[in-house]
Amino acid sequence: MSVHKSLPHDAAPLHVTGQARYVDDIPVPANCLHLAFGMAEIAHGRITSMNLDAVRAAPGVVMVLAGEDFDEIPDCSPSAHDEPLLSDGTVHYLGQPLFLVAATSHLAARKAARLAQVEYEELEPILTIEQALAADTRFEDGPRIYEKGDVDAALARATHIIEGRIEMGGQEHFYLESQAALVLPQEGGDMVVHCSTQHPSEIQHKVAHALHRPMNAVRVEVRRMGGGFGGKESQGNHLAIACAMVADRTGRPVKMRYDRDDDMMITGKRHDFRIDYRAGVDAHGKLTGVDFVQMTRCGWALDLSLPVADRAMLHADNAYHLPAARITSHRLRTNTQSATAYRGFGGPQGVLGIERVMDHIAHTLGLDPLEVRKANYYAEMGGKAGVNVEKGVEAKGAGTAHKISSGTGGAKRFGGAHSPEPMEQGQQTTPYHMPVTDFILNGLTAKLAEACDYHARRAAIADWNASQPVLKRGIALTPVKFGISFTLTHLNQAGALVHVYNDGSIHLNHGGTEMGQGLFQKVAQVAADRFGVPLDRVKITATDTGKVPNTSATAASSGSDLNGMAVKAACDTIRDRMADFFAEQYQTKPAQVRFADGMVHVGNEAIPFDEAANRAYVGRVSLSATGFYKTPEVAWDRIAGRGRPFFYFAQGAACSEVVIDTLTGENRILRTDILHDAGSSLNPVLDIGQVEGAFVQGAGWLTTEELVWDGKGRLRTHAPSTYKIPACSDRPRVFNVALWDAPNPEETIYRSKAVGEPPFMHGISVWSALSEAVAACGPNYADLQAPATAEEVLSAIKRARG
């Protein structure tokens, strides 16, 4: 069995020797041109004149293109046809590409791009939520609202009303490899595109559209990205299209890569959010209803903002059963970079909203935040799975979470004391009316709390804080329940192409892209397992739109779920053909032919796989197959807010302890313990790597990573000198990560679970712990906002002290 094994990244030997090739490392022909954009210097206005003479005259410049040089400016939008490659005369944000320079070197192109003389008629930019609301600049005609139950009645009856607001900043992806594309023109006007993208099919589609050619004229190849995190789902379109336009006009190969500063000024980032909440709770901190208003700045163009904002709504409950809920979402249009996909895709923002509510309830009622969380958890898995009974059971069913969330954890399969208990009253549902049937966080939380000694440490911290005048500590344990599937249902499909050559070597291709997450290795493990051969028989090949067409982006954590299944289907097709062939030869049944240990076992014989492949070839058996998979069960109405958008939920919990300096607001993560649910992990070491990296990235989002725009709409944090992602020295002093090893109840690939995005939200434990530490400074609710930079922590300390 090659699955469920901890194996390092397939390309690790190439990476450690510097041989792994990224787009910018691909050798290019000597006549290759290099591109740079000239960018807008204002956030909103009209271009009144643009003099590019000095740009054209600069050393090395071969071609300069502006909007007026196109009959139709190519569109770069993944959704709404609202992102012209170059400005059409209107400027929508500071940093927007206005013109394109092609030169003999990257540096020559960049230097020349600075020489333009552009004059503008400036308009007042819409930069803030208040400005956008006042001007009613938004996407969609009004707010989107999802509702369950009678929220107003629930709030009217509640013992306590907790209300407040949390603002949370966006986040720069800071993939270490900036955006890059290389286009090689072919005969007859065809194009081959090498691009650092999570979505080769979209690059193919957009490049073909820009060239006014069919998609079969464009082939896109992606071997790897130097990080993606959602930032390469749509943001690479501009580079590939720009290169293709210049390649088409000059017949020369063309490369474009953004310098780091340009990348940060031009490309979209995580959506920042403001969430207003009004929660009704009983005397024990149990929610009776919540009313959320989510507002997000989408930037100037639509991009993926609708599904991002939808996912924020879909995660407004996180792990908690809300008997009544209303979630109102405003998608505001602003004169800033067009916010885009980023790991979690709105989910983290929605989750932070309700985690904030939990902390606020606990502070107001004087309870341990963990007890408030547990009191509101969904009921544990074990109800009547798949039975959709929802009407009129919510009020009665609500008690079950309480009942089974007590007791101490153990090491049994589902966490010991929390053995699944049938829910007699029917299932609890999410605010979008999806029954929650696979919830495991009662048991998982108990196990983590015990393993990390939460209660004793919390008590010790309280004592310590009482005696310390300057430093204060805080501890918090927060859960995550994250929905797995694209919410745009048709994207939940994948294809694969597998060849077995007559020497027994296997060529593997699928629609997923490798950005460091280890997808290629996990999928190769599946292929090796299906044929019962060692992993070194399987060659993992670059994602290629010429091999597998019409692919979805490698996004929504879906990579191994979708592509693993498609590869399995392709392998099984070939395997079945081989089994039929050998069954006939040995006069047995195909089911009696086994593929294991590098052999094909048939009758009393064991044929080495290479020999078997050759015999099948000579026997004229087709040894090439495609595979296809579509996720079952999902069906969803995003307007009504009803249905089953997700195949299943991936879950986990994290406990972090922090210390703050009350004189400066500076802080450190002292210890983090994480227990994360990856189902039956396909590759535990790679999955743990995802959990660790996601946690640190999530903690960065909520602590040091601050995006600052000035009053003119200029992003002031456009380089690592001012935008601080976590460094090696920021990692928790003690860092324990373990996987909750239990099979996914749904039939996923080898019963594993998606792992890319869900652990990002473990970073919230750090923010909650900071909130606790701040609370130790004074009697008032400190109202900590995000990111909790040193400045914000210091402000919150002042608010706590009053």
Binding site: S6, P8, H9, A11, A12, P13, L14, H15, V16, T17, G18, Q19, A20, R21, Y22, D24, D25, P27, P59, S105, L107, H173, F174, Y175, L176, E177, R224, M225, G226, G227, G228, F229, D259, R260, D261, M515, G516, Q517, G518, V685, L686, G689, E692, G693, A694, F695, V696, Q697, A719, P720, S721, I725, P726, A727, C728, S729, R731, F735, V737
Partner: protein, 160 residues
């Protein structure tokens, strides 16, 4: 275009000559003139460490060094770490510990870690964390990197 300058240097023990603009960075010279592609550009401003190389044994960001400064000096990159087919212990431990994901920061981190171990074969974890604080990694969260370097250091001490 200013006059190009002839630079004679040594890269990973091999003599190397190139012509460059006096304003070109060592990073660009290595990549564009000598084809040493293991050196990566992450930020171009000396903040991320992806372009880390050694210059006469000293750890530098090659984006902050001019190509002409390599004249008569020895440049060390990730390509020079393995002895033929035999990987350096750091390289081996990075594979064993799965201490990389997208891998684009890996060459710089390996060069930086090697430089530390040459000066201090027995670093504490804190010393290592702060030594590597100039090498950003967006994927791993650093834990496996620390473990891999500490493990390699222990193995190298035993072997010496």
């Amino acid at each position: 275009m200013s006059k190009r300058i002839h630079v004679s240097t040594t890269v990973n023990g091999d003599e190397a000559d190139f012509l460059c603009d006096p304003r070109e960075t060592l990073l660009d010279c290595l990549r564009d003139h000598l084809g040493v592609m293991g050196v990566k550009e992450g930020c171009g401003t000396g903040d991320c460490g992806a372009c880390s190389v050694t210059l006469d044994g000293r750890l530098v960001c090659s984006c902050l060094v001019l190509g002409v400064e390599a004249e008569g000096k020895e440049v060390g990159t990730v390509e020079g770490m393995a002895a033929g087919e035999v990987l350096h212990p750091l390289q081996r431990k990075f594979i064993e510990h799965a201490a990389l994901q997208c891998g684009i920061c890996t060459p710089g981190i390996l060069v930086a870690a090697k430089t530390l171990l040459e000066r201090n074969p027995d670093p504490t974890e804190t010393e290592l964390r702060y030594w590597l604080a100039g090498n950003l990694c967006r994927c791993t969260g650093y834990d496996k990197i620390i473990r891999a370097v500490m493990d390699a250091a222990a193995e190298m001490r035993e072997a010496s």
